[in-house]
Subunit: 243 residues, 2 copies
Amino acid sequence: MRSVALANQKGGVGKTTTAVHLAHGLAIAGRRVALLDLDPQGNATVALQEMAVDLESDGALALLRPVTDNLWLLPSPGAERAVDRFAGVDVTKLLQLARSLEEQGIDWLLVDCPPRMDQWGWAGLQLCGEVLVPVQPEFFAMHGLSQMLGTLETAQAQFPGKGLLLGVLVTLWDQREPVAKDVVADLRRNLGPKMLETVILRDSALVEAASYGKTVFEYRPYSKAALCYGELVREVVHGGSSL
Amino acid sequence: MRSVALANQKGGVGKTTTAVHLAHGLAIAGRRVALLDLDPQGNATVALQEMAVDLESDGALALLRPVTDNLWLLPSPGAERAVDRFAGVDVTKLLQLARSLEEQGIDWLLVDCPPRMDQWGWAGLQLCGEVLVPVQPEFFAMHGLSQMLGTLETAQAQFPGKGLLLGVLVTLWDQREPVAKDVVADLRRNLGPKMLETVILRDSALVEAASYGKTVFEYRPYSKAALCYGELVREVVHGGSSL
Ligand SMILES: Nc1ncnc2c1ncn2[C@@H]1O[C@H](COP(=O)(O)OP(=O)(O)OP(=O)(O)O)[C@@H](O)[C@H]1O
Ligand SMILES: Nc1ncnc2c1ncn2[C@@H]1O[C@H](COP(=O)(O)OP(=O)(O)OP(=O)(O)O)[C@@H](O)[C@H]1O
Ligand SMILES: [Mg+2]
Ligand SMILES: [Mg+2]
């Protein structure tokens, strides 16, 4: 089982959007996928709320919600609670769940993390062997990225075999913005093989799909966004990773 | 002294951009302003890093960095540290600092909060009488907003006289996106007087200004963004607030 956390301390860079579309894309490609929503905001849970299918689920999968063929979701622990500062996270229980999912033949475990290296963010890194870091091609992203990559090094030292960088993914690229092109060129120059080849263009179809509680593969399968995320699935499955 | 926290648990909605531009706009309008960067990411600190002026600062103001006429900044506590999970925040010290700033004639205290109601987020609410909540007109924002408004009610109960809603501000409004118009209409229908009249349109000048470490008032004073934030300053100073 490959396990990938979507993490970046910078907010609003497309962690949830990427987690949901990578999960659905892998499921469409025939892999058995479990998506854990570890963000108390619960946006991944909300983004998939209109997709539902009747799947027989026993064992550990009974704890998850079937979303579509080959895709199960562990809803956010905090989606109901407004204030998450008092909630504790039981990492041992989550690690046990991850092991049970592997025994039931789950091929990919994806974890959506909050925009913070708090207890939920760190739980995400402890659960996964790899980390995918989405970044928006704009100035603040560059500033936060070096912090994030530093945090990953801390995680790798603390939890051996965890938190290896799968790659940095450019998302929300609006090709009308002149600064974006320079930032992407900078990122490729500075990070080299750590950058994924795939880039995700800005596409309002993603915002619309989310408002209907569906992925763009369901809502508008021939959109720019569907093509970009299809590329990402191919790159992540067939290599090109910087491991 | 009026004190306003910029808070929203949803990431990437323009908290930092609004904090920096409201602070500079108020300073241009002749108010004496102190901006506290309580986000360990330190984006407000980075956004103003190329603006500097030689101001005599004594007393509590000596702890802050003069940015431009009438504007001082308390740099982020975490801007240097990559991992903020171990850092503690001393709210008593921050409350003492706020009192000293008031004694030195500061008219407005603005606080940029991280996208999380963690110890830094809560410190921001304890320091300020009012809260301005930026939202992006898209689906996830609506979902997070009811949580945020619920959190404010908790804060008001716990810290009397703090955390009153100054208003909800629509930011990053891209008028080419059809969903955005519907979301703004929904927000006005549901929230009524809680919504500020001013809206901030999406403008790449803001992204460019940030990459130069300046505000858009300095970088491109006749841009859409400068006009929008100028409107916001007028609305916040002359009323129109939902208090
Ligand atoms: N490629 C894209 N094109 C257009 N909109 C996008 C794209 N990717 C994400 N979005 C939108 O941008 C907003 C932020 O994305 P998302 O919520 O996935 O980011 P996040 O990193 O998970 O945020 P948070 O830090 O709050 O967890 C959402 O409204 C989403 O619909
Ligand atoms: N009106 C706007 N037009 C265009 N870009 C904008 C606008 N407002 C903010 N941005 C850009 O959007 C990104 C997110 O904004 P910002 O960092 O201010 O949000 P935030 O809520 O403070 O994020 P975080 O949750 O990480 O603290 C930044 O790159 C910023 O430059
Ligand atoms: Mg998210
Ligand atoms: Mg910010």
